[in-house]
Symmetry: C3
Subunit: 341 residues, 3 copies
């Protein structure tokens, strides 16, 4: 959608410096931008690249300046840029209307304005809220309830009984509600422990591609509002993830662990069962948190087994110094033994 | 299905203490149970929560007691509870009958009582055994043979020539029989090494969501009876996994490794190629087993490179003591040098 | 396809020793081979197994010999074997013709000779090059361009705007072009940073099952020609992978990292954002490369944080020697303190 810089400034609520009539129709990096693409500059070291960019349209931090561009002045240029992008480039539709090949159970309640793509399957008693778009090949199992304005890309699977609030984005290949990994030993074999709980997903959650979230065994697996999960993440049965927590790719969380609010978890982290990672904690990439461990609120942990970042760095530094320590021990031994003689 | 506690006691073969006419219709945790839900109590510390539960129906370990409940006395309450759950809550059907949109090759042999969901594709010469249910969007490739009473959730892919025994459960998004990762170097590029083996899966195997099992390159990849694989597990070409082994989420096993029987492998473990993990071994979460390494039967290993749990703990403890050791070296140096003067 | 050993020798350009009229129709391991299956022998320790094999047809390294077999003499037997396999066993078709249930947008340009399997969805303005085969349930999003002779197994998803060159193989469940994991903090919540770039895939790339490749945020994610990615690999937004690089299963590469040409990356490696792994480097399995780190060309790194293999081995050896060092410190303390008395 093409707008003027003045219109964009009004939308963002920032002052516009320069010709407000200049058109702006997209967003881009400084390198790939055309004249009508918005770019952003947060700090002085990005000024040169921005100056060289073909873009005429810049969101820029206070105190910086650029000749020959129209500037929108914002305290947080990256945030303003993200808001501008949403406004200029509304998300492309995933589906348009109800495709004739979609199989929708009679008992499903499809609100007006819902779109369902080709070959999607919507089972009995499902509810889909207004404006929700369900991509091709999605499977929404019996009794699942999906709120408003959700976007499921092609090939999302919701097992029966999953509930999803509003404005939730789920990427392709993700599976929600599969059975948890729970077995009871019986004469050297394993018998399935019941996996009859469900999955609850809050508002404004985004889930990446090929991620898996298991249903609770007896109770629920909960992904609270504002949570962002990357690709190939594994969330086991009965896990509870608090609001606005972000979890990077390939991290796995084992059964019944509780992750607090506003936690940041890096990629390939492993969290064993029955752990607690409290509000605001940060868990570094590839860290491993052993069974039952508590990570305190606001703590920053690293390594396997996870310890404070400070301690991890210290231990790692000591590890590097081992040859030197050994050398010093040898020297002492030589001195001491020579005195013995 | 609603039964009486007496009927359940008879099914489980345990004594019933209290009013055997009390109805029982499901299973639950102590917190979420209604009066008719069965709960279980294994030890004295769970008695209080069980007493507070709305449930009237309890499987309980010998020597424990609870007022106002009907008690089923079992040596292994969790196992009895799992058996009760199976009996009270038979698995919901994944598909009912052959859906008219399922595409089934004429040469496929579909035994009576098989169900195939919407938009599933069953290729030439496939065999499906009695009572097997194939979910929506499943793909069963040419010549694959699937036994009796298997349950494939929506979106399972079997490449051509896969064989699966009876009572196998496979969750959504799992891919079985994809080409192994094998290449031969040729003038700085890679040429595909043939990946023409197959995958064989035994009885009573359960495989989680979005797991991948590659076909053998020249021979077979084998998943023996009773094996349980969690979500997002990777099994490479020619791997052989022995009976009743369990492997937690996001673990990867490289080409030609042999895993014994009744092995327990934690999450995010990496096993390089041509390893042997012998019967009854335990591999801790995130451990890394280097190429060609043998883990002895019954051994417990941890860390990367994997070593015995004992050794891992010892080394880790020493790592923590390094600052202290350095301090002691310094002290010695001071003493020795002061004597030199 | 059945050929004679003489014909195969001519195809490979190697001398044939023995009866060139002997038929050869497949490839196999020494154990599973029938008389007509080709096997290969690279070194003297494989001679015994080859001699015992039912196979009559052997590609063999210079200087080795076997009685009673027809021998093709090749400097690189494994490479010759791979070439023979391609010739004897052309890949089975993934789809034959355009299946009537495939949904193909009118604006899509489908070159003659393209095959599209059942229930595939090809959106507006897609281009598919000659000889390309698209499996069942594949989704090729709006405006994606796929070259010649590509093979997409069932259930591959290409988001809109993906471009794929020629002779590319993609296995089931893989998702290409999903949104990158980029958010901007806003009052304690996360707002989506635009993910409007695309994915570009070169010639002769092979991608395993259930792998995910995110689109660029503002620019492109690039997988260069000759790259081989295993199963369950994660490639984040803006990553650039150079030609002929191979990456084993479950490895994850974070945003904007640049991987050079002919790099070898083991399984379960984690590469943080904005790293550079230069041409010819080797990264050991489970290694972790921290944010912004550069791995020099040709370097071999191991561990987390990744260091040179040499250093890793040295440090690990020292870790094992800690009890001994502590013992020596104690001894020194005893000697020194006894002298004090």
């Amino acid at each position: 959608m093409t707008r003027t810089m003045k219109e964009l400034a009004d939308f963002l609520g920032c002052p516009c410096e320069g010709d407000g009539a200049v058109p702006v129709s997209g967003v881009a990096s400084t390198v790939s931008a055309s004249a009508e693409d918005l770019i952003y500059v947060e700090s002085v070291q990005h000024l040169e690249r921005a100056a060289a960019s073909a873009s005429k349209c810049v969101v820029i931090a206070p105190g910086l300046s650029l000749n020959g561009k129209v500037l929108l002045r914002a305290d947080k240029p990256k945030l303003a840029f993200a808001r501008a992008a949403e406004w200029l480039l509304p998300a492309e539709p995933i589906a348009k209307g109800i495709h004739p090949t979609a199989i929708i159970a009679k008992s499903a309640q499809i609100t007006a304005g819902v779109s369902v793509g080709p070959y999607a399957v919507i089972e009995e008693d499902v509810q889909l809220g207004a404006g929700t778009e369900i991509g091709a090949f999605c499977f929404v199992g019996r009794g699942s309830i999906v709120g408003k304005a959700c976007r499921f890309y092609p090939r999302v699977t919701l097992y029966a009984g999953t509930s999803v609030e509003n404005h939730v984005i789920i990427h392709s290949g993700t599976v929600i509600g599969s059975d948890g990994f729970g077995f009871v030993s019986e004469n050297g074999k394993y018998r399935k422990f019941p996996q009859v709980g469900e999955v609850e997903i809050g508002d404004n959650v985004e889930i990446g591609a090929n991620t898996t979230i298991d249903r609770g065994s007896l109770d629920r697996t909960v992904i609270s509002s504002g949570v962002k999960l990357d690709n190939l993440v594994h969330v086991a049965h009965n896990v509870n993830i608090g609001e606005n927590t972000v979890i990077a790719a390939q991290t796995g969380i084992s059964g019944s662990s509780v992750i607090g609010k506003s936690v940041i978890i890096g990629g390939q982290v492993g969290i064993a069962d029955h752990c607690e990672v409290r509000d605001g904690a940060v868990v570094g990439a590839q860290a491993g948190i052993p069974t039952g461990k508590i990570i305190r609120g606001g703590g920053v942990v690293w390594g396997t087994p996870a310890r404070s970042l400070e301690k991890f760095k210290e231990q790692f530094a000591w590890l590097s110094r081992l040859p030197e320590l050994a050398e010093r021990i040898k020297k002492l031994e030589n001195i001491v033994s020579s005195k013995d003689k």
